[in-house]
Symmetry: C2
Subunit: 340 residues, 2 copies
């Protein structure tokens, strides 16, 4: 099948190609009657503008890029990226923007992808996740002047806007809740220690524990995978002075932690309370269902896409706080049975 072009429309409407372009893009320069005629012809013959031609004539590529940096074994079950993607689509779909995806292994490889995308003019902007202190990607994006929005923080991202969430407030709330239930020995299993939001959470966790006079505030660093979550949990539960509650930096590690407790014959929540960061269907899938720090990841993604599209349009965009994280109590938390 031959793809229809604006020339086909112009011929049928008896106008020039320029007029068709103006009509299609809502620009002034054609009469209302002509515009209507052109639009109805376009509709009728199923016209979609060739995105290459449009991009080449200086318009946008009408696509944004996202890199996924996770080992394959975790990529599949961590709801985080798919949640973000669902959110993006809500915004992108309405403006016929496409989402281009690339799996990478390291931030360095990610930089290569950004450079290539930029050179190819393949995308109009990127969404950056997993931000680190002194992140190597930031100066490259600034140098390329590639519109970008960072998901994560708060932290230093130079001139690039970020969508951040109050992780410190959330973890403080979780600790206060556990203490109110009667817990004194609270531990945490964190995500990768080099990520900015992990550091923010660790600092806040230590601060709130100190302020409440808890001295067992141990954070064991892990990497979001089930394997590491299990390992960290075993290490915590083997000791004599084991915690009565553990907060996990993601749902996958929390579920793995639950399995370890069950395997060791500990009852949840009787012997051990569990809190998962990031609520996902996974938390409600297991027994007992996990108390979680919930936030609407999809809304987070939608907001990021909105900001990025604004940045691409040349608007000034600043840092934005995402929707609040809130505690969703479920069956995995309760007063400690015997706190001796």
């Amino acid at each position: 099948m031959k793809r229809p072009t604006i020339a086909d429309i112009a011929r049928r409407a008896g106008v020039s190609k320029g007029a068709v372009s103006y009509a299609l893009n809502g620009q002034p320069g054609v009469s209302e009657a002509t515009r209507k005629r052109i639009l109805s012809i376009a509709q009728e013959i199923g016209f979609s503008a060739n995105s290459a031609a449009r991009a080449l004539s200086g318009a946008r590529a009408q696509a944004i890029g996202l890199t996924l940096c996770r080992p394959a074994r975790i990529l599949g079950i961590e709801p985080w990226f798919m949640g973000l993607i669902s959110g993006f689509e809500a915004e992108l779909g309405a403006r016929s923007y496409a989402l281009t995806l690339q799996v990478v292994a390291t931030p360095e490889q990610e930089i290569e992808v950004y450079r290539r995308w930029w050179g190819e003019r393949r995308i109009d902007g990127v969404i950056v996740t997993d931000i680190r202190e002194g992140d190597v990607r930031i100066p490259v994006l600034q140098q390329l002047q590639l519109p970008a929005v960072v998901i994560g923080g708060p932290g230093d991202t130079g001139s690039i806007a970020q969508i951040w969430s109050d992780d410190a407030g959330a973890i403080t709330e979780a600790v206060r809740y556990l203490v109110a239930l009667g817990h004194h020995r609270i531990a945490r299993v964190s995500g990768n220690a080099d990520l900015l939001h992990t550091q923010n959470r660790t600092k806040a966790f230590e601060a709130v524990c100190a302020s409440l006079g808890l001295d067992h505030a141990l954070t064991i660093p892990a990497d979001y995978t089930g394997e590491e979550g299990s390992r960290a949990t075993r290490r915590l539960l083997i000791g004599g002075d084991r915690p009565t509650a553990i907060i996990y930096d993601n749902d996958v590690m929390a579920v793995a932690g639950l399995a370890v407790a069950q395997e060791m014959g500990l009852s949840v929540p009787g012997d051990l309370s569990i809190v998962a960061w990031d609520d996902s269907p996974l938390c409600s899938l297991v027994h007992p269902p996990l108390t979680a720090l919930s936030r609407d990841i999809s809304a987070y993604g939608a907001q990021a896409a909105r900001e990025l599209l604004a940045a691409i349009d040349g608007q000034k965009v600043g840092n934005v706080e995402a929707g609040r994280v809130h505690l969703t109590p479920r069956g995995s938390t309760a007063p400690p049975r015997q706190d001796l």
Copy 2:
């Protein structure tokens, strides 16, 4: 920063733009010495060909499309799509192909997306999943002559090649294994009943149960979500004549089923054995870890990408069987404790 073009390279190398194009694309028409000089200049100035210009001059868009058709709440935790995506990338990355993603709600909407992509020349081909009997997408793809590869089957997909797997053989193996353990009452919780592979599995399940003389071969249709998995499991376990083993069509429903059993005070595998279709880290994450019908989803994706790239290159591609599904026994299956 100004993007370098072939004109920049041509100027620096003292040759024509045409020569640069030939050199870059490995076409004959330039001497070896010139080609080397051009390539080193391109390397030096970090040149990537403008993908829009390339696509417009008749070459490929260098991108393939994938639509994701799942409700948001399941998209995030089902490892299937992310596994596929990881697999695609292994093939696409090597040839600098991009992957364009679009979330859709229905097959009809998916068709609209295909039409638009085709009109925009945005992608060179698509990978189609969730194939149904008499699938409405097939004739559209054929009419548009959009290169495509179907993941799923075996079944009728007209002239479009499919990567299929022997689901019938796999479920037969699973049932035989359970029967060998001593189970007689085996049930199944399936995915969406309108999907071709669900129907293939159901037929094979009923056939093997009949051939082995099991008369409780009940399949309860569900939809891959944890909610439906729980509902179906409760329905099965509430009855007086409850099954001693359940096979689930995906890992999410199997995990949900495990939780329901635990919630009802049934021991797994003592009172109930559980088999999950599609092994994923999720199966090893819970306690007990789930016996699973494993296949390498990522390899499946890689194979599909390979076939699609071949089809885009104009090669004839036929149906291909994906790597075999095999049973991975874990802690969730055992002889039934008391089979009265």
